[in-house]
Structures are given as structure tokens and as C-alpha cells.
Amino acid sequence: MNEALDDWGNECFLTTDGDIAAINLKSARRRSWSRFSQNPLRAGIAELVVELEQLTAQFIGDVCALDRLEALVQELLEADAVSARAAMMQAQLASMAHRFTDARHFLTQAASRGAAQFDLKRLLLSVDQACGVNLDGMLDERRDIARKSGRIEDLVALGALLADLGEFAEADRTYRQALCEYQDVSPFPKAWTCFQLGELWGELVPVPQATRAAQWYERAIQCLPSYTRARVHLAEIYSSSGRTNDAQSLLISAISSSDPEVHWRLSDVLASQGNFVDAEAQMQVAHFGFENALRRHLLAFADHGAEFYAGSGSNCRKALDLARINVANRPTLRAFEQAHAIALSVGDQNAASELFAAATERWSGSAAFRSSPLSQRHSSNRRGATA
């Protein structure tokens, strides 16, 4: 019996076809921009544009959403530089672009200008979670929020926190609870939850379960065919299991997104099929895309860029630099794991040791650290020291 499919079948309602939802998202986004342009100070309009652009970035893989939001914030500031609202918008954009120090600064500014406590707290929680700050302390708060609201986004945020803390079984239960209790027809939250489950079983658990992860990514794409990140993750699984034609189909359907990772993974797939000419062309586009994205939004793309340059991007030194920038920005256990692995692959023992020491100091007391690859080195070091 497939556990993943069990709970899928218990959902109560159909969701809107993913193609329709994507068209409607684009439609609403366009209109919201138009309304914003008419009057940037109109109540709620900047917030609506930000939400719709966030959805577009997250689900459609449109990396230009960040550029558009920068334009929005600039325009808002020109119209109203000193309001709590403008500071909240700046904080949201900074958080979305992983400029977490800036985000905290703008949140402080928004608080001093009288922004609503609920909004401040919600965004601060998100920033803290993204940076791996006080995760244990945050758990009760996340549980409380999820219990009170019962909303899917709060349950998914709780699931993600549990995963960050290494509580994988409970994270899985929380995500599936979110799916079962979902009572709306928008496919975005459902696709997002399935994606989180795919990532949980494919990348976060100590021993990844590719088949189980693939089922969840497939479900995410079934809900929302334009879900670029789900396509990329699933293509990675297909590729690694030799299903390169399936991987290619998945990626070609996503090629109209502006996510450079699509071109990178497609290049890898084409190369594995012996199609080196097209692979090289895709790799050029990927290179251009990553360089462009890193130039404009370094922190937002630092971890993805590090992974690219550590792999087919073939620039390990640059990969290590990016991974360290990412660690400095958001010292999560995963950021340390990535940077440490890249340092080892480059043969930079000093960097690896520094990263290991910093990770140990910050994370060795956590449950998640025990299942981390870093803890194995920690254990072997301790055994070495004892001997």
C-alpha cells in the first residue's frame, strides 16, 4: 500500500484546473499592476501585487518577479516614503530576495511607524525560520498559529519548521493533515504542500526515498502543470534513475519560465543522451541566467548558484564563494551542509574545517544535526580525539 496516495484520496474537494489557475493568476497580476499604476497609495493594492508576484515567482518560476517588485517598491517610496506600509513592503521584498538583514531593518522601521503587530510578527517568523534562528523556540508559536487558524499556509510553515528540526515523521503528518483539511478550490496551496512532501522525502530525510518523493512531485505537477520547481526536482529524480526522456519532457514544458535551473537540468539531460550540441546551447542559457540573476539578486540565488557552479556550471571556486555568502546570510544547517560539501569537493580543507567548526558550534545541540552528514564527521572527529 502506498502511504502517500492514501491521504491524497481523502481530500474533499476538487481544485481548479492548474492551467486555468495559472492563467487567472497572470490575469489578476496584470490587472493589479494596472490598478497600482493608477494609484500606488490605494488601500491594499501594493499588498495584492506583492502577493500575486510572490505566487508567480514561487509557482511559475518567473525570476523577473523580483525585478518587478523592486520597481513597485521604488514607485511606492516615491509616493509615500515614510509610512509603515512602505516599510512593510520593503521588508516583504527584502525577505523574498533573501536580504534578511535588510528585512529585519525594515520591520523595525515598520514597527516604529505603527504597523500591525500581526503582520510584523508573521513576517519576522518567516525571516527567523529562513535564517534558522531560534527554531526550537519557534515551534510552540508555529503550532499555536496553525491550531488557531487551521489554514493551510500555517500548517505548511509548521511542517517546514518540523523538517528543519529533523522531526521528519511529524512534518510528514502535518503536511498530509494540511492536504486533508484543505477546503478551497485554489490549486496553489495544494501543489505547494505536495511539493514540500516531495522535498521532505527526496532531499531532507537522512536516507532519501526517491520513489516516494517522485509521487509527491508528480501530484504537485498534476495540480499545477506550470509548477516549475516541482518539474525541476522531479526531473532530477527521473534523470538519476535513467528516465532521461521523461526528464526531458518535464523540462521542455517548463522552458518558457525564466528559471535558469530549467536550462541547466535540461542541459544535463541532453548531455546524458549524447546530444552535446543542444546541451551546450542550454548550458549557455543557464550560465547567462545564473549570472544575470546573481548580479541582480545575489542573496536570493546564492544557494542555487552555488549548486549550479559546483555541478555542471564547472566553477567550484565560485560555488564555494556563493555557498559561504549563503551561510553568512542564513546560517541554516542546510546552508552549512552545502558549503561544507562544496569546500571538500574543491579540496579546500581550511574552508571545510572553518565551516564545520561554525556549524558544530551553532547546530550540534539540535536534533537535526544528529541526522546531518556533518554529524558523522563530528562523531569521527570526537572518536579521533579520544583515541
Binding site: 484546473d17 487567472n24 490587472r31 502577493e51 514561487q58 517546514a160 478551497d184 546551447a281 542550454q282
Partner: protein
Amino acid sequence: MSDHIDGPRQIGDPAADLTDLFAFTSPEHPTRTVFAANVFPTCGPNAIFSNAITHSIVVRRAKVVGLGDSARFETSGPEIRFGVRFDALEKGSSHHKPIQRGTCTFPDGQKLSVVVNDEKGASTPDGRFRAFAGLRSDPFFLSWIIPAFKPFENLLFNDNVLSIVIECDTRRVLDPDKGSLFGVIAETVPLPSGNAFVGHEVLRLDWVGRPEQTNIRLNNPGLARADDIRDLWNQQTPFALAQDVRPLFLQRLKDSLANWDMRDGKQDWTPSALTANANMFLDDYLLFDVAKPITDASHLEIEKSTLNGKAYQTGGGRTVDANVIDILLTWMVNRDREPLQGGTTKATKPGTKTFPYFATPNTELQSVTDRVDLDASPDRVWASIGQFGANWNPLIADIKLIGTGVGQLRVIEMTDGKQIIERLEAIDNSRRFLRYSNVSGIPATDYTGTLAVEPNGTGSSVECRAQFVANGQGTLIVKTIVSTLFKIGLDSLKPRFGTAK
């Protein structure tokens, strides 16, 4: 790989969100009654109905059972229910948009298929019913800053909505001989998934009766620190509000109406009249009488006359052009002592006198088109300008290509030093046509450009076209940038190929 958790807060499907309900006599055929429900507030072009929802308009026979401060209306079954569901998209033929179909189910069991956005709509063979579904200009207008109670320009100017319009033969469908007064609501209900619906109560996403029950009366911004109870309201069953929550909603309505009464600093409502008004609004359905005239001014007249202790004179209801906000505010603030008027008294576009009665949608996608007729064969011209990397425009200093085929990028260095990056979306050399999008460099979103060369007599025509939504710098500026680029580029072809005679 990490994916930062910044989840969607805008989780509801806007296509489930009902904006307005209408009930009026057809201006085209006085023997027919029109019901309409709109969804998806402020949707942009290309908006489509959700295929996971049943949209229903539900009518019940009504009667007046009290006058004055004892005013009350009662409704009774059986329900006259019009249901509409929509399908997933069907692929259109080559280069055409996908199409969507809907199925209407009428009170007598007849089913009717409609194609979304087909202006003519569809009719049942017996002529009883006619239906339309599609994008229209939003007829609603709100020309007040409600919290400050100040007239303002129409806040919904240029907005569109998705409209469902159902016209029926009044006599054969509503049978007014059994009583001509009715109450009507519209609701959106999610479709169950397989057998999973068993054991679950019907979940209602949204419903609407009279205008502004939720946003102006229940969620009156003048009530400081009042909880937002709109979601709870939307979960209630129309025509059958749960007894346990009636006191909660009644108290909120009384508080809200008392607040509205004092917005002009004068008390026009006695406590007993205000309670009667609150009780009337608590039973939230739009009243209409098919035996009396329904006009742009008759909205709420049935309720108001009954509360004033008189027999009503009109058919109430709500026409497409009814100024419902001014009617409502005048009633709530000064009990019709003096008319209140917002900043405008018209929607972006007025309704029409012919089916489907709602005006065509507003467009906002800007377009720039330029063309030149040349004295050279299409193939010869295409060979010179039809490659994505071809540099034929004098305003372009250099073009660098990245990648090949669809998805290919061109990095354009302009002579003024600016950089534009474009992506090839489609190319068809046999039809001498290419389409591209803008990645960066032009302050516009959703920018799609096309270049096409077509035969024109013994020569050819070259057409450059761009569609976009201006972003950041204003429409006029972006149009100027694009049209200059096109004009100088196309003009440069004239000396090269000769101008068509």
C-alpha cells in the same frame, strides 16, 4: 537545494469570489426576467471560470409578513435553481486561444451548453432559457471612500468581472400567478472529489444576496476593533441562517446600522426602526417582483416601503446600471431624508439594452503596431531580417545571441548604451513570422513582440507589433520607446528594398 518558505497568503481562488447579483426585467423582452451573478473581482484579460465550482442562482417565492417596525419577509420552497459548471480548457486550433465550455442546469432539468465569451450565448430549444458566460466590464461602481465617508472617483474604474447571465421566460419559469414576489441569492460551492464528500457538510465558498452585506454592513470600518465575521457569514446557508448565530449577526447589523445612521451627525433612525432594518438585512436575499416595474431606481424599494409601513410600488430587484451604493448609503445614513451622491453615478461602461446586457470587457493591454510596404519579395526581406539575431535596426549597436532555437536569448546593445534582453518564443520561417518576449530593458510586463513579413501585391509588408502592460514608467513613455524603435527600424528598410509603388 533550498526553497525558502514564504508561502502564499492569497490562497483563495478569486474565481470563486462572487461580486454582485442582479435580477431585472429584460430591456429587450419585457416578458423575460434576467438573473446575473459576477465572480472574480478586478480580473484582468483572459480570466477564466474555475472548473471546480458549481455557480448557482437560487430563487424562492417570497411574501411580506409584517409592516413598519414589524416588517418581515418570508420565503418558501420549492427552490428555483439555476446551476452552472465549467469545464477545463479545450485547446483551441493553432494560434487560437483555448476555449472553455460551461453547462447550465435549469429548474426544469434542461441542460444547455455555453461557450465562454460567446456574445450570442445559447438558448434552450423551447426558448425558455438563454444563457451567457464570459468576461465583461464590471457594472458595479464604488465612488466613496467608505471609512472616511467621502465621495471619490470610481474605485472600480476599468475593472472587469466574469459574468453569468441567465434570461428566462417569466411566466413559464417563475409562474407569477402563484405570487410575483421573489427572493434570490447566488452561491459558489466546490465540487466534491469522488466519494470523499460523504459525511461532509456542503461547503460554501461564497454567497451574495443584497449588495454590500459583508463589506459595508457586517464589516463596517467605522466599528473600531470589531472582529471580521465575513468568513463566518459566507459559511451560512442562504435562506436558512443558523439559529445559533442569528443573535451574533443581528447585533453586528444593529451596531453597524447605528454607526451608519450617525455618519452625518444626525440621528434619523429610532431604535425600533433600526432594529427592524437590521432584521430585514439579516435575511439576506435580493427581493424582486416580476409584476411591477424594475428600474434603475427601484433597488431596495420593496424593503424600504415595507419598513415605512406602506405597500411597495416597484419590482425592486437590481438592474445593471442601478446606483446601489448611493441608494444604500442614503437609506442607512439618513433614511432617504436627502439623497447622497458619490463621486460618480456611472460605471466604467453602462449596461446594454440587448443580451447579454453587460458591456464588453475593458482592455488594458497596450499595443504598438507599425508596418512598411516594400518593393521586394517576402522571402528576400525575410532572409535579411527574419533571423532572431539579425541586426537591421539603426538604433541597435550590437546583438549577442545565447543558445539556439526557441528559448534563445538576444542581448541587444542599443546605440544609446542601454541593454535590452529578449527571448525567442516562436519562429516559423515558412510563414515568415517570429514572436519574442522581453526579459529586461523595456519597462513593461507581459511584453510580447512579433515580426512578420507577408506578401503584398508584387512586394511585401513588414509588420512589427508589440503588446505589453506598462510597468513603472507610464504607458505613454513605454509606447514612445517601442514605437520609436519600430519606426526607425522599418524606415531603414525602405532605402534597402525600395518602397512599394
